[in-house]
Amino acid sequence: MKPIQPGKIDSIIHEPARLAIMSALAVAPEMTFKELRETLSLTDGNLSVHARTLEDAGYIAIHKTFEGRRPLTTMRLSRKGREAFRKYLDMLRSVIEHGESGDRDAD
């Protein structure tokens, strides 16, 4: 396991709604837009915006298809996203054990 850079916070994951999306996708192989929205109690707009940010960062993969005539959007964590999420949790554990951590990566 790579050592954690002290004082570095991944601000893409750090945002609460995005952290919630990453947390849910970390334990489910794949979730539909509707399932995520219900699980996390987010609005459609909120979920769309944050999911797009995570997709742009390469942390999640969004797959759009049709179920009959209805559009079906599913999301899953990418390998890069899983690694970033693991590092973020390591950072949290490190702060809990050793105290303060400072700067954020980038927005």
Partner: protein
Amino acid sequence: MNRTEAEARMHEVQRIMERTTLYTLMPGQPAIVGGILALLGCAASYAMIRSFDFQAVLGLPLARQFGFCAMWAGIGIVAVGQEIAWTSRAARREPSVMGRPARITILSLTPCVVIATVITIKLLMDGLMQYVVPVWMMCYGAGVYAAGLFSLRLPRLLGIAFIVMGAIGLLAFPDCALVFAALSFGLLHIAFGLIVLARSRQDGEQ
């Protein structure tokens, strides 16, 4: 970021993972098996009492009355036992996130089962057999609803359906308890299990 914030975030991450896992690992099979057991119990009950009214049990010889009660107690024990076995299996697969949800489910259901058991004893003592099924439906529904508060909408809907059907059975159709038992503990459980299975399969295929 300070320690307090980190702890709060870690707690939130854990809560979401538990919530998601409870939903994704919610097994459909035990609900279907429980539903089939309930339907078999209803069929056997009808064969014994030849009526939809549980009150007809009191017309049976004492030994058969005990047999009737033992059969339903057995069905209840087997249904709950296999449910616990499935949940424990899921908890063993994901021990870090399933332990607490499994505990919540058991803790939510236990008071309702205790209350239903006490009321059942009182109803049996007073010879009011027709009210046993609706009481169990409502108590079980309350337990499932409480457990569902920590999960998604589906278990909560199941709980509400049990409470509503139990209330209708109690107030309007106490002489049709067997029909309500078959509809709720039987068919409703099977439908719930099938929906959960269909959703899991859909997730697996995508």
